[in-house]
């Protein structure tokens, strides 16, 4: 009995060790189509546990498409996507979300007629609202602005507050991987800074893994451990955040005009 138990334990640790070595999220040769238009052309991307990874690129490069493809909408027509050792390429969106993969989608997509609290409740729906009170408290500390507006309708808040809500809503599910799609879109520089520093803080203190898609290359690469550059549906460059920041090509294409 006890020997068998130990064996199971050993197996588990082995599995965990193997998993720790393998990337948490791995995208391999993924192609996605809108009708007959090939929006992603064989993309390879890895996100390791505990990392912040940024994906930068111009408008229409396919960044958001990749994000949505990881979430199964549209589904990848070629290639595989694995999350925590599980093939999620063909899973429907809601089942992917239940694997503790959370997303703050492009354009925030908060529930505008529902209150902040209700929005957060929706975020906790994945785990049945088990730790709701505790997590709500945590979000209020992370984003004090949300605490002030807890019973206000989401749609009546400013863009920055809505973005905070979108991130907080994603965090309510206690995700292993948080995916942020253009969190800086349409926000004042100060608010962007605030949001990015919160993300960095979460990564540092809790080891939260973050995959961030951004047009604001400077801020994203500053924040990230590693980065990828995407051009018309393919990854053209990758490296550490600082290396990409220093790269003359990246500088010319995405950081022209100095610091954003």
């Amino acid at each position: 009995m006890s020997v068998a138990g130990i064996n199971v334990l050993v197996d588990e640790t082995r599995a965990q060790a193997a998993e720790a070595k393998a990337p948490l999220l791995s995208v391999r040769g993924v192609s996605a189509y809108y009708g007959s238009i090939r929006a992603l052309k064989g993309v390879d991307i890895d996100v390791n546990e505990g990392e912040i990874v940024a994906l930068i690129g111009a408008n229409g490069a396919g960044k958001s498409t990749l994000m949505m493809t990881i979430f199964g909408q549209p589904q990848a027509r070629e290639g595989t996507i694995t999350f925590a050792g599980q093939d999620i390429t063909k899973l429907p969106t809601h089942e992917i979300a239940r694997l503790n993969l959370a997303q703050s989608p492009e354009g925030r997509r908060i529930f505008s007629r529902m209150t902040v609290r209700e929005n957060l409740q929706m975020g906790a729906a994945v785990n049945g609202g088990k730790h709701f009170a505790e997590d709500l408290e945590r979000m209020c500390t992370l984003f004090p602005r949300l605490k002030e507006r807890i019973d206000q309708r989401g749609g009546t808040m400013s863009g920055g507050e809505q973005q905070m809500l979108a991130i907080a809503r994603a965090l309510m599910s206690r995700p292993r991987l948080l995916m942020l799609d253009e969190p800086s879109l349409g926000l004042a520089p100060l608010v962007v800074k605030q949001i990015f520093s919160t993300v960095r803080e979460l990564n540092r203190t809790e080891g939260l893994t973050v995959f961030i898609v951004e047009q604001n290359a400077y801020h994203a690469l500053k924040l990230a451990h590693r980065g990828y550059v995407m051009v018309t549906g393919t990854v053209t460059m990758s490296g550490t955040g600082q290396a990409l920041l220093d790269d003359p090509q990246v500088k010319a294409a995405y950081l022209e005009g100095g610091q954003h």
């Binding site: 969106t93 929706m122 729906a125 049945g128 809503r169």
Partner: protein, 458 residues
């Protein structure tokens, strides 16, 4: 301080806006009068009478035309003046409110009107009897109450689909029909009692709800509306054409009447009056039916209110707001949509079997598109998602046309041949337009949060 100065700064501009506009208002009113003139020339200016021979004779009525134009001019001017003043006051007031009560101030019109409506609904038979001096004399009011409550229930049922889940359903009456025919057929063919048929009818209707739900899972908005509209028509046409099954357009008659949990409302031995030692009165059945639909409607309401606090109900509301966000939060939108269709349809099924037991007769005539439109109008007028709003809208939509019957004095104004009832749909349309102008988001547009500060967090 800051508040006062803001108002001080804004108020003069508001005042200027409406004050300086008098010439503009006169111009506007003149334009209205001109349009009236244009309309009046072909419609009013000449009266055609049968002449001596075979031709028609034209009689000029220019005095009337002038009068009409003048009336429109004066009315428009008055309207602008009054409305200008009202909106100026409102501007100032909302400014002041926005300044002083910025945090969420949730208005709750339901606090008084809701319980009041409920009390009236509970005591209506008594009120009717007292008001008209006898139960039988009060029958008109109780029948009207039953009619209104049926629509309240249908409105609440559709509110789940349209108001909460945001799925525009133009064929809701189909489920009402399914419920009615379920009872009609089960009771006449198999001799089942109402209390057995009621849940069965709800189940059948819910089944049809799922049946409709599957093909439209990927549709939204206009496309969904068209398919549901077609679904409603299909059900109606099947009922008309499948004569062996449904009796065709002649419908099904001699459906068993409702009994008091097995005790029939008959005069003789073993009847309701006899068992309870009362004098026989055919009104007992009507009052029973009234309370039956009241209970059914209240159950609908309670279930909806309860659902809103459960994860599934919240998922409905989230679905109405943003389907993509829902999916990315791990909500199975298929289940969510189908459950909304099924539950909404179930209540229509209950209402349908009530309809059948009350009428004792069903035919496809009762389930045409206008019914769907009225129920949808009730939900929309009530303010999409507001339970009280739906009730108020149902009273207004179903009750108001009844008022027209009692406007005899209008005959004195418009002449003996005037029947206000003929203007029902015209007034209906006018009321809709007025709503769109003044309350575009429905009578009660305020959404009550399902949780609020101080409430236990779930």
């Amino acid at each position: 301080m800051a508040q006062g100065t803001t108002i001080g700064r804004v108020a003069p501009t508001v005042a200027r806006r409406s004050g300086a506009a008098l010439p503009e208002m006169i111009k506007d009113a003149a334009l209205f009068a001109l349009v009236t003139l244009g309309l009046a020339i072909p419609v009013v200016a000449y009266r055609t009478d049968l002449g001596q021979g075979t031709g028609l004779e034209l009689t000029g009525r220019w005095g009337l035309v002038a009068g009409l134009c003048a009336a429109v001019f004066v009315l428009r001017l008055a309207q602008r003046l009054v409305l200008g003043e009202v909106s100026r006051r409102r501007d100032i007031r909302t400014l002041a409110e926005a300044e002083s009560t910025a945090p969420a101030r949730v208005a709750r019109p339901g606090r008084i009107i809701g319980p009041l409506t409920l009390v009236v609904a509970l005591t209506l038979p008594l009120l009717a009897a007292l008001g008209s001096g006898g139960l039988s004399e009060g029958r008109y009011w109780i029948d009207l109450g039953i009619l209104i409550l049926t629509y309240v229930m249908l409105g609440w049922g559709l509110n789940i689909v349209v108001g909460l889940a945001g799925l525009l359903d133009l064929g809701y009456v189909a489920f009402y029909a399914v419920g009615a025919y379920s009872y009609a057929l089960l009771s006449t063919v198999f001799g089942l009692s109402f209390w057995v048929c009621l849940p069965l009818a709800g189940l059948f209707a819910a089944g049809f709800g799922v049946l409709l739900g599957f093909p439209v899972l990927r549709l939204r908005g206009d496309y969904l509306a068209i398919v549901t509209l077609a679904f409603g028509e299909i059900i109606r046409l099947v009922l008309i054409n499948w004569v062996d099954f449904s009796g065709g357009s002649a419908g099904l008659s001699s459906i068993p009447r409702a009994s008091f949990f097995g005790i029939p409302f008959t005069a003789g031995e073993g009847g309701f009056a006899n068992v309870f030692g009362l004098a026989f009165n055919p009104m007992h059945r009507v009052v029973f039916l009234y309370y039956l639909i009241l209970v059914l409607a209240l159950v609908t309401n309670l279930v909806t209110l309860r659902m809103r606090r459960l994860p599934l109900g919240r998922a409905w509301e989230a679905l109405r707001e943003d389907e993509i966000a829902c999916r990315s939060l791990g909500i199975d939108t298929t289940i969510t949509k189908l459950s909304a269709f099924a539950l909404g349809a179930m209540f229509a099924g209950f209402a349908g079997s009530f309809f059948a037991v009350r009428q004792g007769f069903v035919s496809p005539e009762s389930f045409n598109f206008l019914e769907s439109a009225i129920i949808l109008a009730i939900v929309v007028l009530g303010g999409m998602g507001s339970q009280l709003g739906v009730a108020v809208a149902a009273i207004a939509m179903v009750g108001a046309p009844e008022l027209l019957r009692n406007l005899g004095f209008l005959k004195a104004v418009f002449g003996e041949g005037f029947d206000p009832n003929e203007y029902r749909l015209l007034l209906f349309g006018l009321a809709m337009v007025a709503m769109m102008v003044w309350r575009p988001r429905g009578l009660i547009s305020e959404r009550t949060p399902s949780v609020r500060l101080g409430a236990r967090a779930r």
